[in-house]
Amino acid sequence: MATRVGIEVSIAIADAVKLANPDVIAAYPITPQTHIVEHLAELVANGELDAEYVPVESEHSAMSACLGSAAAGARTFTATASQGLALMNEVVYVAAPMRLPIVMAIANRALSAPLSIWCDHSDMMSVRDTGWIQIIAENGQQCVDNIICAFRIGEDQRVLLPVMVHLDGFNLTHVIEPIEFPEQSEVDKFLPPCKFPLPLNPDNPVAMGDFAPPVIFTEAKWAQEMNIRASKKVVLEIWDKYNKAFGRQYYAVEKHHSDGAKVVLMTMGAVGETASVAIDELVAEGQDVGQIRLRLWRPFPLEELREAVKDAEVLIVLDRAISYGGPCGPVASEVKAAFYDQAKRPKVVSFVGGLGGRDITVAGFKDMVKKGTEIARTGSKNEYEIYGVRE
């Protein structure tokens, strides 16, 4: 029987990693990821988790050690945030084309400068094109479930890709939530042992990471692209299987009162729950509004998104990052691209807010829906709206 306990989300993530029985954890501390790796170190120190904890000297080496360990065939986990993710960026790019199924939790945090330890999605956006599968959790339960799913997705022989599970720093990492933990025996049934097909092994030598001259580079990159595109089907399939095993279903685009709604608000991450309260209140007032939450950032769920807002006239997209000098918020950009060549498409209104840990309240979301609807009708001189800024 699954047990439900009140627990800090970071600790819960470490416990979920423990349930997945990894062989190697290589990590470097950075706020707000610290509690995750501290608890993993503690589990290893107490003999509750049989794994090698490699306390590396930087995030660059954390991801490098993860490459080595995953290439050796070991189940591998790490976690980081913000500057840490930026420092390891070069290495993050290597994992996907080398088909190494590393799982990494990202405690989303703003990128410096100015220095901020609080949440936004600028770090998540900075690794958008690294070829990793990117899943975004909205609450503690989703973190636990998706950490377990991430190992199964990444290690699936049809996928063999690294997976990031994003959770908002502090908004999730440092809060205590009621979380249901699956039993070890159930997880063992759901998650078979890691079987990396061609590990570094003297009995069967392989060369990994040869350089590619122009004659083969395009083919190598196209193979990588076909691979991640094909992975969406497997992600959805594994979420279905997770639901069968544990009774919680995940979708690439989660809907909330959005079917048939004329105005739809789109969010990503923990603010989605606050936004839901606002939407509930607006629906109760009789307004024709709904909400969708993006659960899968890469591969981008184009079909699911189009289907989810097929009846909407206005789609208000909240980004927690700025694409400096760009067209609008980075998520909104992609949403616009997803609809540009569609015969029937909603008017997409881009909002950027919640930067560097600034809260958006229920009233704030109501306001955003109101303003967004207005902009959709009247237009705006701005390419996008920055929410709540003092000018």
Partner: protein, 326 residues
């Protein structure tokens, strides 16, 4: 001794872990050194390679020169990648998963990957005590990108980013002492070697790989392309580096220094410098500066090794009673 030289090659395996057919320059001392280093080991080895000459000449999709499991990811991280491989093997073995016994992990990189961009990752891996060997194949500049200076480029050498000119005599800094930096981590084994002394090189690599815990081997590898020297003299240049004291051969085993060859008298550094185009602009005054510095550095190493000998002698006089007290 001459008969020994005829006999000894028969003791070495025929098997090549680093096969011929790669694209290194004619007379590449590094390719020689890599071949010897991995000939010294069996086939129970996993190689983590930094970006650089050897990575480029020995790998190109879909070919490889390596008969060993080999991974290249980036420039500055082979020590960290090796950490991960070692940790992975350790955990999988402990947990009863099917992995081969007694697998050695060897990380390799050039002098740029080692003494510049990868120094932090190497320091981390040595400090954490992973059971692996790091080998630096030092050709004293960024040769792969076109002979740019590194912190391992010797004083006075002209490179493309430390050119000799009206206002410059080439590299104006002294070579970073990587073996001493490695030794400062108090790791069980540090050694220097060069391909001009092949049996010494092979014995040291073997010893390094067999040492439990981290080991570091620094191998001077002559680069005729970058050193502007004749391709048929690479081994002579390598031996002259040792005989002039420019590159002393020694081992540091658990903190104990030991000279590898007995040189009653050092040859003048000029013998080494004059056959390399990268030094041809040097004035007598600069050559003298190099001579003085080489003697000073050589003496430092010699004293460390001699002190050990002295201590060992005095210990044997006073008996072993004190030795066991820690």
């Amino acid at each position: 001794m001459e008969k020994y030289a005829v006999y000894v090659p028969r003791l070495i395996k025929k098997r090549e872990n680093f096969a011929p057919g790669h694209r290194a320059c004619i007379g590449c001392g590094e390719a020689l050194a890599v071949r010897m280093a991995f000939k010294a080991l069996d086939n129970n080895v996993i190689v983590a390679n930094a970006t650089g000459c050897i990575e480029i000449v020995a790998s190109q999709l879909p070919f490889t020169t390596w008969h060993l499991p080999w991974i290249h990811t980036l420039f500055e991280n082979p020590a960290a990648v090796a950490s991960g491989i070692e940790a992975g093997y350790k955990a999988m073995k402990r947990k009863g998963m099917a992995v081969p016994e007694n697998t050695k992990v060897v990380a390799i990189g050039g002098d740029g990957a080692t003494s510049d961009i990868g120094l932090q990752a190497i320091s981390g891996a040595l400090e954490r005590g992973h059971d692996f060997t790091y080998i630096c194949f030092d050709n004293e500049a960024y040769m792969n990108t076109g002979i740019q200076r590194s912190s391992a480029t010797p004083f006075g050498a002209a490179t493309t980013t430390s050119p000799a000119g009206k206002h410059s005599f080439g590299q104006f800094t002294w070579k970073k002492n990587m073996p001493e930096i490695a030794a400062a981590h108090n790791i069980p084994y540090v050694a220097t070697a060069t391909h001009g002394y092949p049996f010494d090189l092979m014995a040291k690599v073997r010893k390094a790989a067999d040492t439990p815990g981290p080991a570091y081997v620094h191998i001077l590898s002559v680069c005729p392309t970058g050193w502007r020297s004749a391709t048929d003299t690479v081994n002579r240049q390598s031996r002259l580096a040792v005989q002039t004291g420019v590159f002393p051969l020694y081992e540091v085993e658990n903190g104990v220094y030991k000279m590898s060859i007995d040189l009653p008298k050092l040859r003048p550094v000029k013998d080494y410098l004059k056959i390399q185009g990268r030094f041809r602009h040097l004035s007598d005054d600069l050559i003298q500066q190099i001579q003085d510095r080489v003697e000073l550095e050589y003496q430092k190493i010699l004293e460390k090794a001699n002190n050990v000998t002295k201590r060992a002698k005095s210990k044997s006089k006073t008996g072993a009673a004190k030795a066991s007290a820690r």
